[in-house]
Symmetry: C4
Subunit: 216 residues, 4 copies
């Protein structure tokens, strides 16, 4: 009994530990660096400046929640891994490359909305970055499935069919990118909605039964 | 004996580990990014510039101690967890969202005090951010209690009634926000006092007896 | 059987754990700070500004992949360690000192390509930083070998002769630094190629057999 | 035998783990943020600009090595801990508060040397920050000794008398601060020397015998 409870720890490779540590580092730093993009600008009273900076707060929240949702999905994925392999680590590096890039288009979008400037290009760039994070995250998951890197499902446990869940998120991003070419602010609202959707509905534990059993 | 000592490690879920890693990342980065807000400005001799920058040092210390106190409370909370659940992870993301935001109002407040500018709005924003961190931290704790995510109290261990401790901190913040509308510098002094209070008096171990027993 | 599987965890010293934590911190922060170097500049339409900023994206990708490859190599190295010693920790600090420095020449190179300015000096500085990371990483590995800090190779496991692998990378860097004195943009292309080479071909697990065995 | 080897892991409290994680975060971020202070300035050719920026590189190296030495000492300290207590966590927060502050005086010193400006004030501030890091680190160690938070020395193990080692470092800092009031550049050279001294001679394992025994 005691030894079966320890199994998950023992079976996890050290590579998994460091993959998680490096990934947690990039996710948390990218999320925290977003604050450096927030700025207030004259003219106006202090109150006006603070209120007119709403696009910066909004873009901060959308990007933070998107990174948070990506981190939730990533932590569920790595939790199910029994081992890593060289290609998985490389796909993971690509995910992190785009996650770490996100503060840049976030800043462009917020700047553009704030100054009523040409938002379309920046919003499209932002949408493409979000889309890339999702596609690469799905690739990470698909590769781990194909190579049997996950721990096998236990009896009574339902194996989730991840790709079917993917469609609403990918579809939402594609629609938003197209809409953003005409109505960039509507696209930003959709990105916010998708982030909320992923935070609220997608981020469920992959193996709820086993999780509860091994933790009580 | 040996196996009972290992219990706390074995019972902790991997989700808890990554929740802690991501949270530690955000807390430590937000605390360290505060230094980027510190700046000296002409005119004046070097000594005058350094001394006149006191609002930046003061705001740095207040925000660092506030984040430090929030981290202390957070580490005590997660230490008592036997497992996490999806909603707990989401409330935690909200806590981190506001913690990671803190460098921005910190900078506004320090800039404003330094240039004798309209401080009230910025100090109010700062106070609201501090208040949000506390309320969300309490929500995290309350949810973990309600869902029985903490390890059960052992015999001879006093169960702390957290909500009663909450009142002086929340009350202090509310009073300071109101005072800040008229006397912003007094409000900042109160925030410093609350941070010291939390560091000095609130940050006691939740389970002092068990903690000592399992560690010796 | 169970106890032999646990061996790798038990034999690893705590120093190794913190060496990894600090290193993961520096690697992930340096990689994520690279995004702060990306900027767009007038004049031009938004689309022109975004497209003309390609040197920043390219430099971001080259440096991110280089840091990623260095991290992959570093994680394989520390995974094989059974213990650390004081000199290993110091060589490691030197590796990290240069890794953490990389965002600075990255920015210089991107700025220079973007403004068609004197690239040669900056590209040379960038190449020297990349070369230093590799030489110090090899020194870290060579020292760990000489001091027998790695776990001994098991039966049936081929001991890799690291120094032979080193030559293409070091040679590529040296050639690129010389070429960069005349054709700086060609040098940057070589650095990109070397980063891809390291990501794609060098980052193989040191002990593939043992890794798989202990993880299943 | 196997269980005695596991002892150090089992006896370590979870608080120690998070204290290390948060501390590693602050140390590695502060060390990596130093790169943001490096800048080149016109006029001059690219080569002149890069060479004239030597004070930035030098200050980067001095501060990075100082933080690295402080991290080495900190990791040795926490490795010997069997448990933490609330006051130790608070003293640790003070250490981190000053470590995270270091990028600011580092920038001031480098800027001042670069522009031949009034260095004395900035160099004094820098020296006081270094002195504070050392004094607080010693306080952390002294408190852990007084409260018996360290694992007891084993037979055949020599108990180090830390305070005697302290004198050359504290003395070096005090002398450098005084010298810096007249000859600021000499003081910077001393800080570099002290950082090298701490890296090269002080950072020896506290418990060399036990360390080797438990790791082989």
């Amino acid at each position: 009994m005691a030894s079966s409870e320890e199994m998950p720890r023992v079976r996890r490779s050290l590579s998994t530990t460091r993959m998680e540590a490096f990934s947690d580092g990039v996710f948390s730093i990218a999320a925290t660096l977003l604050v450096l993009d927030i700025a207030i600008h004259p003219p106006g009273t202090a109150l006006e400046q603070v209120l007119h900076a709403w696009p910066f707060y909004f873009a901060y929240v959308v990007s933070f929640l998107t990174i948070g949702a990506a981190w939730l999905g990533h932590s569920q994925l790595t939790e199910g891994l029994t081992r890593t392999d060289p290609l998985l680590l490389r796909i993971n590096l690509l995910v992190l490359l785009v996650v770490a890039f996100l503060p840049f288009p976030t800043k462009l979008v917020a700047d553009a909305i704030h100054s009523n400037a040409s938002e379309r290009v920046f919003v499209t760039m932002y949408g493409l970055a979000l889309l890339a994070i999702r596609i690469l995250s799905f690739a990470l998951d698909a590769y781990a499935r194909r190579e049997h890197l996950y721990s096998p499902p236990e009896a009574g446990e339902e194996q989730q069919d991840e790709p079917r869940e993917v469609l609403p998120v990918l579809g939402g991003y594609l629609v938003a990118i197209l809409i953003g070419l005409v109505l960039p602010r509507v696209a930003i609202a959709i990105y916010f909605g998708v982030a909320l959707y992923m935070i609220l509905f997608r981020a469920l534990p992959r193996h709820p039964l086993r999780a509860h059993r091994s933790r009580r």
